[in-house]
């Protein structure tokens, strides 16, 4: 094609080759930009994780309580794994970069011809790992209660998540993780690696994997002094290497910390074939043997629900205006529709606005694995190709003919259909129906459930549900303490501190953390303390102000009656939560306090039962009715007793300071001795009981 303008022609002539060059150059430049952008992304992530890991080390060194130490060690493990994953990804990217530079000369770098399947969301939830305790251990409760802290690490592609930590001992039959973990960008060929880490939760931490017998022999004082030594040695801290962007990643010194160390107990890998909309059992590969301190008798399998939502099922693949004609119907009547391809159907709406307005589509054409789509011959009248979609509806073949507005559109639609079919063939069973994935709701701080640990030894069978004002005060304060303690234990609290530090004021905060941190923590364990100085620096207040950012970790329930925080900011309401979380603990605490008080008052209480329940209302709040002290005492005798003491010990407890309470009861009369026998036999140490 000749142009009058010479330059233009030159441009054109050069255009074709130059265009190619530019395209190649652009391609190269864009790839280069992309990788360097991705590079810096990964570098940022690595830096972030390194900072978190440093924080975890420091927290571990400063921890005084076991729960906190375990949580911090868990975060340390997660951070280390994430760092390793990011570093290997960085390595791979650099290698790919180098390879590309080499190969670009040789081959024409055009856009990739192979089709890539769409990505999807993969969610794993309701992890349950059954345990297989020996009969003697489980029923007879012989020997020391060996406890382990466990958690799961889940890795898919570059994303690594960890579940909450669970303390396991032989009163549990399964390890249950309630978290739902969602991986956002997964390809159909994904490999989800599930690793179960466990750590012995006994006193001594300094020795890493000492055999159980030896570990129990080592005294706790040794652990503490050894820990102090290590902490002192560690004080300068591992220097966080400042990554020089672009260069090969430096080998980070792995910090050796005093404290609990997690070991890999079992692992497995899940892939697309394991995806199903219901629970399935998978085999676990167990590493470690009985001699290890972190050993747990696993049954060898794991149950979970692995669901996948490929993007082709949840997002619109293509949309546009079409004319649809049904074969066999009126040949001249073709409906103008706005069609949307999503999931396994082509939705045809009357107007484009209907899509947003959520109005029902005019009709729907199924597009699934059985559908056949082909482009028909060119219509002699118009220059446009038609697309024919044929489905089998119960033996009958129904064909719809789609006419687009232009040839490019036809090409676009065919391309979209091909891509859609390819996606469906890659994601296989996930494209039959949309699997539901529940997004993890904003996590409330995990309440101290009485199910785990040796709380059964503290829990008593009988306790009155009465709550006098004084008792509820004591309980409220105790629950507050527990809440604080459990919140400190959760990783998100302290992690958010570090996140904010890096963003706002790194210098004063980090120094503050290393210094007064131990005492702040210590104070917390006793009672709520007024935060000092500016809200940014003090640990607790920073929790509150910072966790307000990370809303996903805290419930924003308004502060209830019991909190001594001087600062009136609404952020502090985050630190309190309703006492009802700890309801099971409430009752056992109730009884325990009554036991303690009862011991002070001495024993002796005659037992008489009243045959007729006095009338009183049964609605919440729990009934308070005045009764005679005698029957009051008798109530207490029947109701509160701890498993290890006789029924006399706790007799007068509640009655003495709250004479006005009592609950009506109708209890069949039993002799005192048989009652005591019964109580002894209902000892939860022998036979598990649950309150509902």
């Amino acid at each position: 094609m000749f142009c009058r303008n010479q330059t233009a022609r030159a441009t054109v002539a050069r255009g074709s080759a130059l265009e190619m060059e530019i395209r190649r150059g652009k391609f190269r430049k864009s790839v280069f930009l992309d990788t360097s952008q991705q590079d810096s992304d990964i570098q940022k992530k690595i830096d972030h994780e390194i900072r978190m890991r440093d924080g975890a080390c420091k927290l571990l060194a400063a921890c005084s309580q076991r729960e906190q130490a375990l949580e911090a060690a868990k975060s340390l493990q997660t951070c280390s794994t994430r760092i390793m994953a990011y570093m290997s990804e960085l390595q791979r990217m650099k290698e790919a970069q180098v390879m590309q530079k080499v190969t670009r000369r040789s081959s024409d770098a055009g856009p990739m011809d192979d089709r890539l399947p769409c990505k999807g969301k993969v969610a794993i939830s309701d992890l349950r790992i059954p345990l297989m305790w020996k009969d003697t251990e489980y029923f007879k409760n012989k020997g020391e209660l060996h406890r382990c802290a466990v958690f799961c690490l889940l890795q898919l592609g570059g994303e690594i998540f960890d579940t909450d930590m669970v303390i396991v001992d032989r009163t549990l039959t399964d390890i249950c993780f309630d978290n739902t973990i969602v991986f956002k960008e997964a390809s159909p060929g994904f490999e989800l690696r599930v690793e179960l880490y466990s750590c012995c939760s006994e006193d001594d931490y300094s020795a890493g994997s000492t055999p159980r017998k030896l570990a129990s022999k080592l005294s706790s004082s040794l652990g503490r002094s050894a820990g102090k030594k290590l902490r002192a040695a560690m004080e300068p801290g591992p220097c966080s290497p400042i990554s020089n962007g672009g260069a090969s990643p430096l080998l980070l010194p792995v910090p050796s910390v005093a404290g609990p160390k997690y070991h890999l107990l079992a692992y497995t890998t899940l892939s697309l074939s394991n995806v199903q909309d219901s629970f399935r059992t998978h085999d676990l590969t167990i590493s470690g043997n009985e001699e290890c301190s972190y050993w747990l008798p696993l049954y060898g399998s794991m149950c979970c629900r692995l669901a996948a939502q490929p993007h082709c099922m949840t997002q619109q693949m293509i949309s546009g205006r079409l004319k649809v004609k049904q074969c066999g119907g009126d040949p001249q009547s073709s409906t103008k529709v706005y069609a949307v391809l999503k999931g396994t159907s082509l939705f045809c709406y009357h107007q484009q606005e209907d899509v947003e307005a959520n109005i029902e589509p005019a009709f729907t054409i199924a597009v699934n694995k059985e559908t056949r789509i082909r482009a028909s011959e060119k219509d002699p009248h118009s220059n446009v190709q038609n697309i024919c979609i044929s489905n089998q509806y119960g033996g009958e073949e129904v064909t719809h003919t789609l006419t687009t507005e232009s040839r490019e559109d036809t090409h676009r639609w065919m391309e979209a259909f091909w891509q859609h079919f390819y996606d469906m063939s890659q994601w296989k069973q996930c494209c039959d129906d949309l699997m539901k994935i529940e997004l993890p709701s904003p996590r409330k701080p995990a309440p101290a459930t009485p199910k785990q640990g040796s709380l059964y030894h503290e829990m008593v069978i009988e306790s009155s549900d009465d709550l006098s004002s004084t008792v509820s005060d004591i309980l409220a304060r105790r629950m507050q303490e527990l809440e604080l303690r459990s919140q400190l234990g959760t990783s998100s609290t302290w992690m958010s501190v570090f996140e904010e530090n890096s963003a706002c004021c790194p210098h004063p905060c980090t120094s503050h953390l290393s210094g007064p941190r131990p005492c702040t923590l210590h104070q917390l364990s006793r009672s709520p303390v007024s935060p000092h100085r500016c809200p940014q620096l003090a640990l607790l207040s920073s929790d509150a102000s910072l966790t307000s950012d990370s809303d996903s970790h805290r419930s924003t329930s308004p502060c209830s009656h019991h909190h001594g925080w001087p600062e009136p900011s609404s952020n502090f309401s985050l630190l309190s939560s309703s006492p009802s979380h700890l309801r099971p603990r409430t009752l056992s605490l109730d009884a325990k306090l009554s036991t303690l008080r009862g011991r002070g008052y001495g024993g002796g209480g005659t037992f008489h039962c009243s045959c007729q329940p006095p009338p009183s209302s049964l609605l919440a709040p729990l009934p308070i009715s005045s009764r005679s002290p005698r029957s009051q005492r008798s109530t207490q005798t029947t109701l509160s007793c701890s498993s290890s003491t006789s029924s006399n010990s706790s007799s007068n407890s509640e009655g003495s300071h709250s004479p006005a309470e009592g609950a009506p009861f109708s209890r069949p009369s039993m002799a005192r001795r048989s009652l005591r026998n019964l109580r002894a036999r209902l000892d939860p140490r022998n036979w598990l009981q649950s309150q509902v």
Binding site: I461, S578, L619, P623, L682, W687
Partner: protein, 128 residues
């Protein structure tokens, strides 16, 4: 109430409907259970047959919803809202009773006295 493997279990049951009581964030029923197929049946003080691994009521909170509904200590729970409880683990039993979206639980419970009552009534009117 003894259980022969492979044979259907027959028992005289009483229907008990318990309305759950809201206590703060939780719905409580006001009793405790013991037993389960993963528990040691020999420890059950209420069962006649010491191999019975069913779910038994071990304690009733006086004045609580279960007490009002007529549940008694020592009752064996056969069904909860239609779900069988004669062959469940302890945890499963607890979960079936503490479902958050249910405000009412309808139990089928059996106890020795029920059987005796039925026997007595049958004896009163002997078949001719």
């Amino acid at each position: 109430m003894s259980f022969v493997p492979g044979q259907p279990v027959t028992a005289v049951v009483q229907r008990i409907e318990i309305q759950k009581l809201q206590q703060g964030d939780n719905l409580i029923l006001g009793f405790s259970i013991g037993g389960g197929i993963d528990q040691d049946p020999g420890q059950n003080p209420f069962s006649e047959d010491k191999t019975d691994k069913g779910i038994y009521v071990t304690r009733i909170t006086p004045g609580g919803p279960a007490d009002v509904a007529g549940l008694m200590m020592g009752d064996k729970i056969m069904q909860v809202n239609g779900w069988d409880m004669t062959m469940v683990t302890h945890d499963r039993a607890r979960k079936r009773l503490t479902k958050k979206n249910e405000g009412v639980v309808r139990l089928l419970v059996t106890r020795k006295s029920l059987e005796e009552v039925v026997k007595q009534s049958m004896n009163k009117y002997p078949r001719q």
